[in-house]
C-alpha cells in the first residue's frame, strides 16, 4: 500500500517492437506522485515511444507490439482488456506540436468535459476558466473565448493544449517535447505553468533540452538506445552521474 501511494505509475520490463526492430529493451521505471520526471536522451533512443506506450497511442499502429507491464491504479495498462478510453481519461497527453482543434478557445477546453458526459453549463464554464488560469492563459484570452483557437500564437496554442489536458483532471500528464516548436519566451511560460501544476499532477516530460530538464524536473531518466541507463533525482544526476555514459551525454560528448 505504501508503494501504491508513493508511485503513481510503475513501468516494469517494458519491451516495444516496431516490426522487426527492438525499440525499447526492458525499461523499468516508477513515477513518484506529484513530481516532474524528465526523460532525456539522444534522438531515436525511444523516449517518445515510451511516452506513447503509457497512453496506449500505439493502438492505432498495428506494426507495434508491446511486452511487459505498466501498472496504474492497480491495473495493467497494456492489457488489451483495459479500455484505452479509461486510461487516456486519467492520463493526459500534450504533443510536440500544438494541435488545437478547429474550434473556439472555449470549445477546445470544454471538449474533454463534454465527451465525458458533463452537461452542466455553469460547471463547464467554471472548469474552463480554472484550467485556463492554471495554464496562465486566462489573462490573455478571457475576452475572446469564442475566437478560433487557430488564431492564437504557437506558445498560446501549446498552453491551450495543456489547459485542455488538465480540464479533465487526469492524474498523470505526459508531455512530448512540448517546447521544441516554441520560442524562448513561450518556453519560459510553459515551464512556469508546469512547475505550478506539480502540486496536482504527476508530470512526465520528454525533452531534448538538458537545461530544461535541469530547471524543472525533480527526477531525470536517461535513455540510450532503448535502455534506461540511469534514473535518479535530477540534482544528483547532473552533479554526480553514476554512469560514464550519462556523464558523457550530459557534457555534450555525443547527442
Amino acid at each position: 500500500m505504501a508503494m501504491e501511494e508513493q508511485h503513481c505509475l510503475q513501468i516494469e520490463k517494458l519491451h516495444v517492437y516496431a516490426g522487426a526492430k527492438h525499440i525499447l529493451k526492458g525499461i523499468s521505471l516508477n513515477l513518484p506522485r506529484h513530481q516532474i520526471i524528465a526523460l532525456i536522451g539522444p534522438s531515436g533512443c525511444g523516449k517518445t515511444m515510451l511516452l506513447r506506450s503509457i497512453n496506449r497511442m500505439h493502438d492505432l499502429d498495428p506494426n507495434i507490439r508491446l511486452q511487459g507491464s505498466i501498472l496504474f491504479k492497480g491495473r495493467n495498462i497494456l492489457d488489451p482488456r483495459v479500455d484505452p478510453v479509461w486510461i487516456r481519461r486519467h492520463i493526459g497527453m500534450v504533443f510536440q506540436k500544438p494541435n488545437p482543434f478547429a474550434k473556439s478557445i472555449f470549445e477546445n477546453v470544454a471538449y474533454g468535459l463534454k465527451i465525458n458526459g458533463l452537461k452542466d453549463k455553469a460547471r463547464i464554464r467554471a472548469i474552463v476558466e480554472e484550467s485556463l488560469r492554471r495554464s496562465y492563459l486566462w489573462e490573455e484570452v478571457k475576452d475572446e473565448l469564442d475566437k478560433s483557437a487557430l488564431e492564437l500564437s504557437g506558445g498560446q496554442q501549446q498552453r491551450l493544449c495543456l489547459a485542455r489536458a488538465i480540464a479533465v483532471s487526469p492524474e498523470v500528464i505526459l508531455l512530448d517535447e512540448p517546447c521544441s516548436a516554441l520560442d524562448p519566451i513561450s518556453t519560459a511560460k510553459v515551464e512556469e505553468t508546469l512547475l505550478s501544476l506539480r502540486q496536482m499532477f504527476t508530470i512526465l516530460i520528454v525533452t531534448h533540452n538538458l537545461q530544461q530538464a535541469r530547471r524543472i524536473s525533480d527526477y531525470t531518466a536517461f535513455l540510450y538506445l532503448g535502455e534506461l541507463v540511469e534514473y535518479g533525482p535530477t540534482a544528483q544526476m547532473f552533479e554526480q552521474p553514476q554512469q560514464e555514459l550519462t556523464y558523457n551525454y550530459l557534457h555534450g560528448r555525443f547527442g
Binding site: 479500455d83 478510453v85 479509461w86 458526459g117
Partner: protein, 295 residues
Amino acid sequence: MKARRRFWNQFFEKSLTASAFISIAILLGIFILLATNGWKAFQDVGLEEFLSLERWNPSAYDTPSYGLGALLLGTALTTLGAIAIAAPLGVGMAFFLAEIAPVRLRNVLKPAVELMAAVPSVVMGFAGIVVVGPFLAQLFGLPNGLNALNGAILLAFMALPTIVSVSEDVVQAVPRTYKEASYALGANRWETLVQVTLPACYSGLLAAVMLGVGRAIGETMTVLMATGNATAVPTSFFSSVRTLTATVAIEMGEVPTGTTHYYVLFACALVLFIITLIINIVAEQIATQLRRKGQ
C-alpha cells in the same frame, strides 16, 4: 464508460463496417449478374458464332445471328483512333504546361482542361452531330460525317482532360536536379526534355494514357450519337460503325426479358466490364510501381 455512450459508439462503428461491405457487394453483384445472364447467351449462341465476323442481326425474322466481331471492331476502331489522337496531343500539352508555359497561363489552362471532363457525354455526342460531323464531311467530301473518325475525335477529347491532368502531375514530379544536371552538361531544353525528362516519367505517362483509354472504351452516348451505328464490318475510319456500348444502349430498351437477344446484350456488357477491369488493373499496377520507384 456509460452504457449509453458505449451503445452509440458500437452502433455507429458497426454501421460504418456494414457500409463498407456494401461497396464490395455492389461490385460482386454487378459481376455475378452480368456473368449469370451472359452465360446463358454463351449456352444459346456458342462462343464461335459470338466472336465471328458474321453479321450482328439479332432481330432477323428467321435466323437471328449474333456475331460480335463487327461491334468489337467498332469499339476497337474508335478507341484506338482516340488513343492515336489523344496520347500525343495530351502528352504534348502536358509538357507545354509543365515546362514551357508561364505559371499564370498554366494556372488558367489546366483547370480549364480539367473542366472539360465535366462536359456530359451526350453534349459531346451532340457536338459530334452539329460541329465535328459537318466539318469532317466538308473536309473529306463525304455525304455525312457520322463515322468512326468522328467518334474517335470526340472520345479523344473526352479522354484528354484525364491524360493532360495526370501527365502534367507526372512531368512536374521529375526532380529539378535531373534537368539541372543535363543543362550543366550543355544540353539545350529540347534535348533535356527528350533525353532526361521523358525517360524519367515514361511509365507515369503510360498510366495517364491508360486511364484515358478506360474512359473512352466505356463511353456510350457520344459514340451512339456520332458514329452512325451501322452493324457492317468497318473497312476504314470513314465507315459508319457501332460499338459494344451503343449496341446495348440501342437494343436493351426494346428486347423482351429472358430471350436469347436479352442475354446476348448482357454478354456484351460482360465483355465490356472485363475489358475495363483489365485496363484498370494494369493502369493501377503501373501507378503502384511508379510510387514504389518514387520512394
